[in-house]
């Protein structure tokens, strides 16, 4: 019994990572009906930004630039707070620019003073998050806005372009080697339930950390999308861009929010993956594993993404351990896809996806 539980648990914990990546897909798909091929590239970009800011062998310009971006992001938060607190007295445009520029300058100055030394995780993680926010703004401005009201397939193709661009861009500015990410997350293996089973169950502390983080993330997202009006606006935008605009939903704000949140989720996935296996180009490929997860979970379901990821993680491990004696090893590489195909045969909308009934 002990070994079996150990395999299942190991699979569940590995599945958390798939879930995190799939979650990013689902968020964007729900909000814009876009299948975001670039989610994997975003994970790479987030992880690279983080690991390189924490290291000390990038140029001064990188630190200063990242700090300016962080300052700007802080500035936007300040401005939004102002607008919320005093809706009647909007800040004049000039004052707004002053706030933004001042905070960006402050950020760069601090970075310059600190010198070309690596940042602590407490600074680098928010900075990487800010960078993902700006990536979202850039994608909205340069790609999504010009393509408003286009067919989903066109938007999908544009995300393929975005994926290639981010892959190249990330490696151009941050470098393309393998970097070890050390955020101080404990990595040692440990034994659980030693009293219940002989020898206990061996798990990695990092995996536990990842599972807890994923859990927190899901709860936060659920509250965010259920308890705020954004939930309804999001569904509206996903359903029909034109109609959503006509009831007063600002498409571009919604898209920036969603891509930013997807960027944060990518950062979380990047942290887990990078801590485990190092930050490297192959991170972007994890997106391919997210595809079967999405088919299993359904493109539109947040719980589906989580459960799908866990199922695939567990299924893979179980198959690897218990089936490989009969059909040979390497099952982990293809198992997910076969499982997904099987699900497609019986439930094309996925296990948790909404069934769409079209009137013809």
């Amino acid at each position: 019994m002990g070994p079996f539980i150990e395999v299942v648990l190991g699979g569940l914990l590995a599945g958390v990572l798939y879930s995190l990546v799939a979650l990013g897909f689902v968020l964007i798909f729900k909000a814009s009906g876009v299948f975001n091929f670039a989610q994997g590239a975003m994970v790479l970009f987030a992880a690279l930004s983080l690991v390189r800011l924490m290291g000390d062998d990038v140029g001064m310009g990188h630190y200063v630039g990242a700090a300016a971006a962080t300052g700007l992001a802080a500035g936007f938060l300040v401005l939004m707070g102002w607008r919320r607190a005093r809706p009647q007295t909007p800040m004049p445009a000039q004052a707004r620019w002053t706030v933004l520029i001042a905070l960006a300058a402050l950020g760069s100055a601090l970075a310059a003073l600190h010198g070309a030394k690596g940042w602590s995780g407490w600074v680098a993680v928010p900075a990487a998050a800010a960078i993902m926010g700006f990536l979202a703004v850039a994608i909205e401005r340069l790609v999504l806005r010009p393509l408003v009201n286009q067919e989903p397939i066109i938007l999908f193709m544009s995300t393929i372009g975005i994926a290639f661009f981010i892959d190249g861009f990330a490696q151009t500015i941050w470098g393309s080697e393998i970097y070890t990410l050390d955020l101080g997350i404990p990595k040692d293996p440990m034994f659980l339930l030693e009293s219940a089973f002989e020898g206990g169950i061996l798990v990695n502390q990092l995996d536990i950390f990842a599972a807890v983080m994923a859990g927190v993330l899901v709860v936060v997202l659920a509250v965010f999308f259920q308890k705020t009006r954004i939930g309804r606006a999001l569904r509206a935008v996903a359903d029909d861009h034109q109609a959503a605009q006509s009831v007063g939903i600002p498409l571009n704000q919604i898209w920036i929010i969603v891509w930013t949140v997807a960027g944060f989720v990518a950062l979380a996935a990047g942290i887990v993956w990078g801590s485990k296996l190092g930050v490297q180009f192959s991170i972007a490929q994890v997106a391919l594993k997210a595809l079967p997860v999405l088919i299993l979970g359904g493109l539109t379901s947040v719980p589906g993404a989580i459960i799908g990821g866990l199922m695939i993680g567990t299924g893979e491990k179980l198959a690897e351990v218990y089936l490989s004696p009969f059909i040979g090893g390497g099952i982990e590489n293809w198992f997910a896809y076969v499982l997904a195909l099987f699900v497609l045969l019986f439930r094309p909308q996925g296990l948790f996806g909404e069934r769409i009934i079209e009137r013809i």
Partner: protein
């Protein structure tokens, strides 16, 4: 027709609007106005530019030339979410509902603007909003009663027959409590009975809430019954403008509908 609210001053002024798509000139130099509380019909043969005109008014299309003045504010270009926060709501020629949502949820989205202004900020902070939600819900229930669609409140709109979908779409537009309501062929594809219902709703909206309405319609009988004044477009130009009777007798209008070449 006896009115509780007399027709007032100019609510919307459209000035010399020209709009082209590549080589297609959808609108050329069109000017007209819409007065408060009136029902203004826009008619014309297929492809005359009627829908384009509505799209210009609500900000989907940006004309190459011309100005639009709404409630005294003149604008060159404005995006749809901005015009809707100014009080313009609309329905679409090809129904644009949120197909996955129920009737109730569709109409609720019409009230999003009335809830919270800044989505970005809301993403970061939200207060207790239960009471607000309930008020909006009550308003939506009144609209549902008004449109007599209680029985389909929970039905996903994708499964509704066409006529009812059009009604839900009207409900969603009404939920925003617009000052100007743009209706693009609200009765297309309906049977006689459904048309009569829709006519009644439009008249009631106009009468009870004082909503100003711009209406595109192909059915001449409906246009004659409903509208106070009529604009006629043909090949993107305005060819007539006046009372329903005057327009009906206009030789240019008759020619346009009969396809007499220019």
């Amino acid at each position: 027709m006896e009115r509780t609210r007399p027709i007032g001053d100019v609510l919307l002024q459209v000035d010399d609007i020209s709009l082209s798509f590549g080589g297609v000139q959808a609108l050329s130099g069109v000017s007209f106005d819409i007065r408060r509380h009136e029902i203004r019909a826009i008619i014309g043969p297929n492809g005359a530019g009627k829908s384009s005109m509505l799209n210009v008014i609500n900000g989907f299309y940006h004309p190459q030339q011309g100005r639009i003045t709404f409630k005294g504010q003149t604008r060159r270009r404005m995006r749809p979410h901005e015009t809707s926060s100014q009080g313009i709501a609309r329905t679409f020629q090809n129904i644009a509902l949120f197909r996955g949502m129920s009737t109730l949820d569709n109409i609720m989205t019409g009230r999003l603007l009335k809830m919270h202004r800044n989505f970005l900020w809301q993403a970061l902070w939200w207060g207790p909003a239960e009471r607000e939600e309930i008020e909006h819900r009550e308003h939506v229930e009144r609209i549902i009663d008004f449109l007599e669609i209680q029985s389909i409140r929970k039905v996903p709109v994708g499964q509704l027959p066409y006529g009812l979908q059009k009604r839900v779409e009207l409900g969603r537009a009404l939920a925003a409590e617009p000052e100007l309501l743009l209706l693009d062929e609200p009765m297309a594809g309906m049977n006689v009975e459904e048309k009569e219902d829709m006519c009644r709703f439009i008249l009631d909206v106009n009468d009870e809430f004082g909503t100003t309405i711009a209406l595109i319609e192909h059915d001449m009988g409906v246009v004659m019954d409903l509208s106070d004044r009529v604009v006629v477009l043909d090949y993107g130009r305005k060819i007539a403008d006046g009372s329903p009777d005057a327009v009906r007798g206009d030789q240019k209008v008759i020619d346009a509908y009969l396809g007499v070449s220019h």
